[in-house]
Point group: C2
Chain length 239, copies 2
DNA sequence: CGTGTTTTTGAGCCGTGTCAACGATAGTGG
DNA sequence: CCACTATCGTTGACACGGCTCAAAAACACG
């Protein structure tokens, strides 16, 4: 029961749950699993028979490209279900790995199908979660495509801050313990390690956003959003 | 009834339909609408109350970025539902426009909800379609990110050829009447018009793929796939 | 305190963008 | 059927953003 708390929080951040739906979620058989940093949960090519809920920590999905490069396609905070899509498309076209120490809850596909069958609301919310996932992908296409390095980086930082805030992940001073290395950020933005470093330096020297000892602090929200051309509507958060 | 034929073809290209499901699809109220090239069907910011099926022609979705640039996030061939996501996320974070002359069938969200409620198979297939959409987005993130101009372009051509083939859109000689301008391809791949032109020239001079008078012909499939690092699994086509 | 990882910086190069012009093609009206 | 026009494709010259290589500094951990 406590296991599904992050999922309930997440569902409520993107929609409304009544008592019946909440009770139904709590009937899910959730099998917890602890992950160490860099540990793979799924490999490209796998055909999983369950999906996972991130209970704590941060995960990432990425593709390995022929020349050995990595393309990170998403980051996942507690409450999210990074491989919910495997419910309807069996083949994994990417890998799923823990960024930090993490705990995930494994839920058999049959269990999810049962919940989806019994509650139109939960079906809608789970479907909705995969659609928001897709909306984020669209922004990342733009981050990697038409937005330049500075705008793309700023956009990613905006997004992560809002997503972290929506699940109550910010510190009381509004900063966020961002767990990514600059290499991982570069792999998400299609930038080299050296260049993401210089881009972050630009943001730092403009007093817009600072990362110190792994903690991200946004000093000038309006300016960060302006640089990014950021419109939060695509995250479809209620707040 | 004839209106939903492309949708049935599409559904069968990514899954199985029985007679009952086919009959259910044919009960959908489909309101056809004719579009001229460049005509907008939906604008960024809209809140549509129906989704559309592409009946003929090709559509594209794109975001307008602050500096006036465009990021194309997807192309849509007959049978696809380019704004199916609006069933569960109301706000459009991008625009939908006709590339060619096209006919779409408008289906009210209520109608889709009815079908989803009545058939678990169709719910699964429609959800699956949005998930394949997302899988394509992931590849486009890589196209715009870690893949270079040549590999990204080759990857997009591979994808389009397979998608066109899966709905019977190729000519008998295996070529495909590709309706995009080089500007539009560039907007999809995050490349300038000049550079996409040079990239296509490279493919042409290597006798890998040629676009003549708007018709794409792949001369050396293996080589094109090799350049792209293409693995078709993410399209989840049955054939 | 030592070792491995991550961040930072410099120097030089290369892929891709920009600017500009011309050529090819298709559609339009006389 | 041809001239006219608009759009699209092609090419060259040059600039610049971002990459690579390399090394040092800062940090994390045992």
């Amino acid at each position: 029961m406590a296991f599904v708390e992050p999922l309930i929080t997440k569902m409520q951040s993107i929609g409304a749950l009544d008592d019946k739906d909440r009770a139904l979620i709590e009937t899910l058989a959730v099998n917890p699993k602890r992950l160490t940093p860099q540990e793979y949960l799924l490999h490209q090519g796998d055909h999983p028979t369950n999906s996972v809920i991130v209970l704590s920590g941060v995960l990432a999905r990425f593709q390995e490209l022929p020349e050995g490069d990595r393309q990170v396609v998403s980051f996942h905070l507690p409450g999210e279900m990074p491989d919910l899509h495997s419910l309807f498309i069996g083949h994994m076209d990417h890998s799923l790995v823990a960024i930090t120490e993490a705990v995930v809850g494994q839920v058999p596909h049959d269990e999810l199908r049962r919940v989806v069958r019994e509650s139109a609301t939960l079906m809608g919310l789970l479907w909705r979660e995969t659609l928001i996932d897709a909306a984020i992908f669209r922004q990342w296409i733009a981050n990697n495509g038409r937005r330049g390095a500075l705008a793309g980086t700023a956009h990613l930082l905006c997004e992560l801050m809002l997503r972290a805030r929506s699940i109550g992940g910010l510190r009381s001073d509004g900063s966020w313990p961002m767990p990514f290395t600059q290499q991982q950020l570069g792999d998400a933005l299609g930038l080299s390690l050296v260049h993401i470093n210089r881009t972050l330096k630009t943001l730092r020297e403009a007093n817009v956003a600072v990362i110190e000892r792994g903690v991200l602090r946004v000093l000038d929200w309006d300016e960060l959003k302006r640089i990014a051309g950021f419109d939060p509507a695509y995250l479809h958060l209620k707040s």
